[in-house]
Symmetry: C2
Subunit: 324 residues, 2 copies
């Protein structure tokens, strides 16, 4: 909304599924393949824990949260990823994610003052450091860890297949912004996968233990999953272990509501993050039993106000009745 | 597209109209009100020329292009706007557009190295300097030039009504990012307005002369209308006076094809600039007679390739058959 009129409209689809893969809510087409992008980073990080690499290298909650993160490139993110690499004797030159300016405007300005960004500032650098640690633990090649046919990516693919029940085939594979493969998966499968991630239901004991540890790490250190002022960070700060949520590029979110055994996956058709966030907040509010204070704290994410460069309120984002 | 699959979809509407207000092309709903935002900056700058302020203050093509601009905050943009203000004895503190970091990443990094952005870096600072110059020429208050009831904005409203044939009423008025009023106008009216802007048809001689001068200024100095690597700049560099094009926030473009007497207005429903640009390029290609070299030069704007942080081609933007 701008003033009293609708200025722009976003469409999308949402699936909420339980750990038995029963659909609890389906809005829009939840069977079409969707590239989850960074929304499945927690699944991409799973083997780091399950295969024992996290223990071997002494990773705590910060390192595990960074492995699941699309971080803002703020100083403590960069230091954390550098520390992960140092534990396997590598430096940032081993990262193959490419370089971009920090998502955080303040961090970008600080980087500009003293130099230029590096691969450490790439929002995916923690995931890539995790892949390198896994490659190291698996004792396989560490140069091509990002390629679809590398053992690391083949094992990651098998994990995503196990969680989602989808077949990740060549015809649904594309290249992500950080060069690793991304496979398109229907939202209902992604939601089912995150129901398992949230509940551990139907997983092997080792896998269930690993997801619990990743969920706890993200709930304990949500700032490391995204950063200052970011949706994933603020929602997990608000809810702790009650909500896991992770954004992906092009308007995707995956999430879990462990106490209800539900997984959530959504995609805004046009790729807009602002709409995807409001949808995710509305879905959380629809399913979780909330006290008044928590509901009030969640409200600004469902119905954000928009302010201009002078701080004047110029409009708002609204979700439609279908979600409320 | 990402790989071989559609990743995200944008919808929108396009109107192409002649100076008699006859519709030549209508795709989608061209009668619903749309906030044109910065796409009508050339109409907002018209009185600066028509009322003699541009002559009185010795403005050349650069200053006039800046008055029509959503500039990237690069050094020469900032210098140009400061020069406009100096000609009326004001400094940047007179600007009421608010402050944001330069659109240009390189300019933002350079600003960060030495200080912080000012209102001069706001993409609308040239328009605001133009309003101040008009207020000065009209000898009216210069503090509240941005308010809807100020003489400057009331006169600007009358200009937009004259061009578009739409009534700009209170119920379609909202506040723009830079705090000036923005009125929602149907795309067919906006397109008709830009047919007049491109051809001068149906305008008073003074007004027709003023639009010709603004068009020439933008064609001569397109870098000042946007900036390095920007769509408006590159398209007007390619076409000179054959195409006028101007972006507005939330996926809007207005444009003119003077040799055909046509105006163009389009809106991507979800506000995405990437789609709006491809639509505008496709519409230009559909209507203008182009030699092979020009058609080849336009092609990358209709079908852009997408590359990731490592420079790997990961996808493409495509317009649908309805535009081709």
């Amino acid at each position: 909304m701008r003033g009293s009129l609708v200025e722009s409209r976003h469409r999308g689809a949402v699936a909420v599924v339980d750990a038995e893969r029963a659909t609890v809510l389906a809005v829009g087409d939840v069977t079409a393949p969707v590239f989850p992008r960074s929304a499945v980073k927690a699944l991409q990080a799973l083997l780091l824990v399950e295969e024992g690499a996290a223990d071997r290298f002494g990773f705590g909650d910060e390192e595990l949260a960074l492995a699941c993160a699309s971080h803002s490139g703020e100083p403590a993110h960069v230091v954390g990823v550098e520390r992960m690499l140092a534990k396997i004797g590598l430096d940032p030159s081993a990262l193959r994610c490419g370089v971009h300016w920090p998502i955080s405007q303040a961090a970008a300005a600080a980087v500009a003052r003293t130099g230029a960004p590096s691969a450490l500032h790439n929002n995916c650098s923690g995931k890539h450091a995790g892949f390198l640690c896994l490659a190291c633990a698996m004792d396989v090649d560490r140069a091509d860890y990002w390629r679809p046919d590398h053992p690391v990516q083949r094992h990651v693919r098998a994990v995503i297949e196990d969680f989602t029940g989808a077949v990740l085939a060549q015809d649904t594979c594309a290249i992500d912004g950080c060069s690793v493969p991304t496979w398109a998966v229907p939202l209902k499968n992604l939601a089912g996968g995150f129901a398992k991630f949230g509940s551990g239901h139907g997983l092997t004991p080792a896998r269930a233990k690993a997801v619990a540890r990743l969920r706890r790490a993200c709930a304990e250190k949500p700032w490391f999953v995204a950063g200052t002022g970011r949706f994933c960070t603020e929602i997990m700060q608000l809810f702790g272990q009650r909500v896991f949520v992770k954004t992906g590029a092009e308007g995707v979110y995956c999430g879990a509501l462990p106490e209800l055994g539900l997984g959530i996956a959504l995609k805004c058709d046009d790729g807009a993050a602002r709409a995807a966030q409001a949808i995710m907040a509305a879905v959380i509010a629809r399913f979780l039993l909330l006290d008044d204070a928590t509901r009030a704290a969640l409200e600004p994410y469902i119905h954000p106000s928009l302010h201009n460069w002078n701080g004047i309120e110029v409009g708002a984002i609204r979700v439609t009745d279908v979600l409320e």
